[in-house]
Symmetry: C2
Subunit: 254 residues, 2 copies
DNA sequence: GAGTGGTCTAGACCACACG
DNA sequence: GTGTGGTCTAGACCACTCA
């Protein structure tokens, strides 16, 4: 039985496709350009559409492509750097904070938050919704949890739920001392509500940044921020005095 | 034509499946337990295998499941926290560094590294391969690039390629002053070589941590470390003096 | 060799954006 | 309406692990 293929290591088709298309993106396409549609591409490469899609999914995961239903597949710009350095010792909502408050309501905390904060499961927690928009694009959605016990003054806020209340809560936070914070980054998939804020489909890959804020020796608040993994690169500020520059990002003229 | 479904918002099947299975994992399964195989699960839920797989892929992405060809699908333990705090102002290979050197060779640097380092594209770069293993599991694979221009003493190293040479290069690094470093985290997919070190298939989702080391006001070295996104949570050390504890992680007795 | 997850096919229909 | 990507099906074969 002669084998038809000479390859001793049969690389999956979608993997090979990904390489080929990836190289084509570098050489034959410019940022923002629209690719042929999936059916056409599949036909051109002689594979089933599902296989072609597997390759495109990988490229999208790597931030090389952007796909939108009803529109098409475009070449993505380089990922934007988003500074999440923990060196800024300040509460959320401090002056210069680019996040936009969206809403605030009191609610029972999810289990994960209860664990991180060491509060009672039934205790109500002030939950502030914020989003981060850069260059007109939604970049991240955050839920900030502040147990009533941490900042008793919050009970006095009379604004109903909504942006006004969110602002009040954040303003109240600034009055307190911040001892420190710690941070963790992991991969996740967007919940339905986050996906909506981020203009993505539910399940889209996101980088989940969990921050704990400490005051008086205990965790006083927790923030869970989900960043679009396709468009973002999280940066942690330089320890030295060197200015960081992402050269590929510079060109934007045409 | 009456619609058969009453749902006004037809949630995708795989999304619903993911929720159902996710809840089942919490209530009916223990860590390490083997799930029924994909064909059986698909039959039980009355969906095609491809649809079932879409749900499992999501759960694997979130670190809830672990799938291995020829073996089966098991319930994954909670992600392990891996400290990548930039506050440790030291070169790679410093005492206490848990990374294991694997190899070292001189080679032309990839384009991305050339950009980060501001070296000539044709200049040879010392490339050190290291891996990080925790609790017997491969966690991350790293490529550390040191241009000859940064550390001239490296030319004097006579060890051929291999672990010995890697150790010599790292040892030489310690003699130099480290001005600072900066770090970025983004989502990527494992290249074939990294996948092999990480015991995963090529294309597996990884967290790519890029670190630049500065000395004498310029970037002297770059490290590109790829962490298994399914099993890792990257942590950035506390700014305060509070000890962080990942409760689920503590138990390891048996 | 039996059983597992991984790849691939060739279709179909759906939800969405846009003209 | 037309065209796009997103979902879903019912098969098939392959690569791998393990007894």
């Amino acid at each position: 039985m002669g084998t038809t293929q000479l390859e001793s290591v049969p690389e999956p088709k979608y993997w090979h496709l990904k390489t080929v298309i990836g190289e084509a993106l570098d050489s034959d396409f410019t940022v923002g350009e629209i690719l042929p549609n999936e059916r056409a591409l599949a036909a051109r490469f002689g594979v089933a559409r599902a296989t072609l899609r597997q390759a495109l999914e990988q490229l999208e995961l790597e931030g090389r492509l952007q796909r939108r239903r009803g529109v098409g597949t475009t070449v993505a710009p380089p990922r934007m750097g988003v500074d999440v350095s923990t060196s800024t010792h300040s509460w959320p909502g401090a002056p210069g904070d680019a996040w936009q408050p969206v809403d605030c309501r009191a609610a029972a905390a999810p289990a994960a938050v209860v664990r991180a904060l060491d509060v009672d499961g039934d205790e109500d927690v002030h939950t502030v919704r914020r989003i981060l928009v850069t260059h007109g694009q939604p970049v991240a959605a955050e839920l900030l949890y502040i147990p009533s016990g941490s900042v008793p003054e919050l009970s006095a806020i009379d604004a109903p739920s909504g942006v006004a209340r969110a602002r009040s809560v954040l303003r109240e936070l600034q009055h307190r001392l911040l001892d420190g914070q710690d941070r963790a980054v992991e991969l996740g998939s967007a919940r339905a509500d986050d996906a909506k804020e981020l203009d993505r489909l539910p399940g889209a890959p996101v980088l989940v940044v969990t921050t704990r804020y400490y005051t008086e020796g205990r965790a006083a608040a927790v923030s869970v921020a989900t960043y679009r993994a396709d468009t973002c690169r999280l940066t942690f500020g330089a320890s030295g005095d060197v200015e960081i520059r992402h050269d590929a990002q510079a060109r934007r003229a045409s």
